[in-house]
Amino acid sequence: MRYLTARKRAEGKGPSHTGTEHHWHMQVSAVGLAFLVPLFIFIFGSALGGTYEEVIATFSRPIPAILTALVIFVGLQHFSKGAQMMIEDYAHGTTRKALIMFVIGLSYALTAVGLFALAKIAL
């Protein structure tokens, strides 16, 4: 008989073999997005369908530009970690590693392109 607590025995047995930090990150970004997303839907929805000049004017203003940058950055970090969770549930071995790398890379690439576009429009 080994003197282990139930918690000690359970640790590291989930699909990712780790997790509390990951889960905490998901909670923090979820709460952040809960505040950002309704405003973003309103701003983006109003800009969508406008002319080129109107769209440039919208994203040149500080609040729409900063808010969109935040939604892109926080949203894609949330996606990256969420998609990783899904991959860890269904894929194994090298496939798992490759898919996680792809998702993290895709998230950073989309973030970089989005922030570059916003900077070019706003500045």
Binding site: A6, L48, T68, I72, F79, G114, A117
Partner: protein, 127 residues
């Protein structure tokens, strides 16, 4: 400090013979909507990049985004966004250890399904 009880237990039923329940369906929909929103992110970033590049490139991207197909994608995205939003709030509530009894969990399930449709329609009307 109990040791592991080595007891022969029945295995949990395989997912394909398990009756779909509101709680399981609303849970898997959270994952589907969340991951599908990557397509929306891709479209939004492309549209912004086009606006940053030139009026001509914007015209091309904007034509795709505001076509009937673009409208369909963005309307579905809107619903997915609101669904994932409400399901995420429910997840945070569950994480706090609340609402985990079956009647409450099922009420919350209907809440996010109906709520997401209502919020989607409201957004289309207002924005």
């Amino acid at each position: 400090m109990a040791d592991v009880k080595r007891v022969e237990r029945p295995l949990s039923p395989h997912i394909s013979i398990y009756r779909p329940q509101l709680t399981s369906i609303t849970s898997i929909l959270t994952r589907i909507t969340g991951n599908a929103l990557a397509v929306t992110a891709l479209l939004v970033v492309w549209w912004l990049l086009a606006a940053a590049t030139s009026p001509e490139y914007f015209a091309t991207a904007n034509a795709v985004v505001t076509s009937w197909f673009g409208d369909l994608v963005f309307t579905l995205s809107l619903w997915a966004m609101w669904y994932h939003y409400l399901a995420g709030l429910r997840h945070l509530y569950f994480d706090a250890g609340k609402g985990l009894d079956i009647p409450t969990a099922e009420k919350l399930g209907w809440g996010i399904i109906i709520g997401s449709v209502v919020l989607t329609l409201l957004t289309i009307v207002i924005v």
